[in-house]
């Protein structure tokens, strides 16, 4: 071993301080806490929709929010796992979950073209579409901030994958946090405007996140 490396090793060893280990549980707690905050802010701004527990919500409301939550959990777990370097990772739960969620806008589009959309809140002329998209993205921003902070502390070695996952996890969890305050439960509203923020957040994550987490 050459002297330069020996000196460097001696220096690093000399400066060594105990460290608090970064754990998967810690990452999940941070992302989970951010989701709770996003949910709390959504409820404070838009009020909780108690109607969902009084039989007012359609089954599509539960299906959509359930799938979006599942995508958020799968992406958040993969994101947190990706912060700890290892080789041979193969899990693709976020990919399959995203594929399942992608069925929702297809269902919405089919509903629109088959004349099912006859409500003012349905379809592409949905007057609250922009509000739902914005609110979901605002909630997603909180989750994304926590995710990026955690990844900066950890050591992601697949930067692009982690960036996609930040977008997917924050988009899905943010949309879920806002989504359960939204009383509009039609196929076309939920299938389009409660899925679009997930896709938008994923693309934003892919573009914005890499420079923030590269090390």
């Amino acid at each position: 071993m050459n002297t330069s490396r020996e000196n460097m090793i001696a220096g690093l060893a000399d400066d060594l301080q105990p460290v608090r280990r970064i754990t998967v549980q810690g990452g999940l707690l941070l992302v989970g806490f951010a989701t709770l905050v996003a949910f709390g802010v959504s409820v404070a701004v838009f009020d909780f929709w108690f109607g969902m527990f009084e039989g007012e919500a359609s089954s599509f409301f539960w299906v959509t929010n359930g799938l979006v939550l599942l995508l958020g959990l799968a992406s958040a777990f993969a994101l947190v796992m990706g912060g700890s370097p290892r080789v041979g990772q193969r899990e693709n739960a976020p990919g399959w979950s995203a594929a399942m969620v992608a069925v929702l806008p297809m269902a919405a589009i089919i509903a629109l073209f088959t004349g099912e959309a006859n409500h003012v809140h349905e379809g592409l002329n949905d007057p609250v579409a922009l509000m739902c998209t914005r609110a979901s993205l605002a909630a997603a921003a909180l989750v994304a901030t926590a995710s990026v902070l955690w990844l900066r502390r950890s050591a992601p070695v697949s930067i692009e994958r982690s960036a996609w996952l930040v977008g997917l996890a924050s988009g899905a969890l943010g949309t879920f946090a806002y989504g359960i305050t939204c009383p509009l439960d039609t196929v076309s509203h939920l299938g389009l405007w409660h899925v679009a923020p997930v896709a938008i957040a994923a693309v934003i994550g892919r573009i914005v996140v890499p420079p923030l987490i590269r090390w």
Partner: protein
């Protein structure tokens, strides 16, 4: 002789708790392992810089090691990540002959090396991409020289390097 997986894992766990002597041994052993790991994948003139770069990364990210998991795959993932980053940064270098001697390895390490080998990453690239990266990023040829050597146009050499490195970056933790 490079320490085995269990010893390295134990040393790292002790280092996380602040054991300086254990850390010194760990980094020395890791340095030797990395030297062999990178030997055929970077010009000899860059080998020590890359090893030191990875050791520094190990130091900075030591909190991310989970003592309940094997140490070698953790270190190898960091090594791959820094290596791809190194290939991206290094563009033009004087041509250096890559050492071709295969060091004798003990059987346990052979298994680990086989699992995390950089060669395996290259096997995921197509022939043109691997050739372009080998010649320009590792042997240090210019784009023009690589173009003449391979028969690919200069633009194609650049495209193959760009796409190959992108693919390598995506494979850092995915490939066995």
């Amino acid at each position: 002789m490079i320490a085995d997986e269990a010893t390295l894992a134990r040393l790292m766990a002790s280092a996380q708790d602040g054991d300086k002597a254990a850390y010194n041994v760990l980094l020395s052993e890791a340095g030797m392992w990395l030297e062999r790991y990178f030997r055929r994948r970077v010009p000899p003139s860059q080998l020590d810089d890359l090893v030191q770069d990875v050791l520094l990364a190990i130091h900075n990210k030591r909190a991310t090691y989970d003592p309940t998991r094997p140490f070698m795959p953790w270190m190898a993932a960091i090594a791959r990540y820094r290596w791809v980053d190194h290939l991206r940064k290094v563009y033009k270098h004087e041509s250096k002959e890559i050492e071709d001697d295969d060091a004798v390895q003990d059987s346990e390490e052979e298994v680990t090396l086989a699992r995390v080998s950089l060669e395996r990453l290259f096997s995921h690239l197509n022939e043109s991409q691997a050739e372009a990266i080998e010649l320009v990023k590792i042997e240090g040829l210019s784009i023009r020289e690589a173009s003449q050597r391979t028969g690919q146009s200069e633009s194609l050499v650049k495209v193959n390097i760009h796409r190959g490195l992108k693919k390598l970056a995506a494979l850092v933790e995915k490939a066995d």
